[in-house]
Symmetry: C2
Subunit: 135 residues, 2 copies
DNA sequence: AAAAACTGTAACAAATTTAATTACAATAAA
DNA sequence: TTTATTGTAATTAAATTTGTTACAGTTTTT
């Protein structure tokens, strides 16, 4: 995994604290300490998932698209997750071997079970829960 | 994450099926379809955690160091895991910002909780459970 | 003793992924 | 019309992961 989840949480927490006021990608980038273009790229994704609203043009910026108590961390995770948490090997096991022939399938099943347990855990926490720790 | 867990599980499953007979890194590599040196490198690690035994020299090779029912998948995970499942951002948040100042700590707490839920899930499954699916 | 078949380990190269940078068109407010 | 900002793409740089090669050390076999 990479740092997308952390970046996403940082952005969302800032927006929650802004309390409806629009924040610019430059301001957000200043808090996270990364490049503003990366912030915009990450937000493009979160917007696709209905978590963030944006306004273009002068005095534009970003805000939450849902009240913080309605943003469930499992949804944030889904938005940024592209791979199973257990990882994914890129080898192609030998189909002539009894184990090699079947292992991909069994490993995938296991990976899904693990992903589910992460979802379950994260579905018990809202952005509001997380964000209020800072106050 | 990378594919280390999958490679480790593949190796362990093969060794379980070998039923005490020693397997060479070349044979194992043939089933996984990767380089023998990589197999040995991965095994070096699993050996450190007491999961695999090795024998050097001609007619050498590898075997399980514990009966399969005593190899818990959470131990395999611990052996290969180097990073939290949620990932880890490499930015250094701005300490002048209320959120930036505290977020690393709160994200780490969350990451630990998630890691625990993975451990809990994997601690319910043994290598024997996994491996017997192939028979 | 010598040859053969292994493991153990290191050094290096290649490929892939992630993050950073730059640039600029499009939009909306002043 | 100027200014500040988002949206997006293209490119570069850095980091990580995977693959390769090589060879010393070990144990068995002849």
């Amino acid at each position: 995994m990479n740092g997308q989840f952390q970046i996403a949480m940082h952005i969302l927490t800032l927006l929650d604290h802004a309390d409806g006021e629009l924040l610019s990608s430059e301001y957000i980038a200043g808090s996270i300490n990364i490049n503003p273009a990366l912030v915009r790229k990450e937000i493009r994704n979160l917007r696709k998932y209905g978590l963030i609203a944006s306004k273009e043009g002068k005095a534009g910026g970003y805000s939450l698209d849902l009240p913080a108590p309605q943003i469930i961390l499992s949804d944030v995770y889904k938005a940024v997750k592209h791979q199973p948490a257990l990882g994914q090997a890129k080898n192609l096991p030998n189909p002539k071997c009894t184990v090699g022939r079947q292992i991909t399938q069994h490993l995938n099943t296991l990976a899904n079970e693990v992903d589910n347990s992460i979802f379950n855990k994260l579905s018990t926490i809202t952005l509001a829960d997380f964000s209020q720790q800072f106050k």
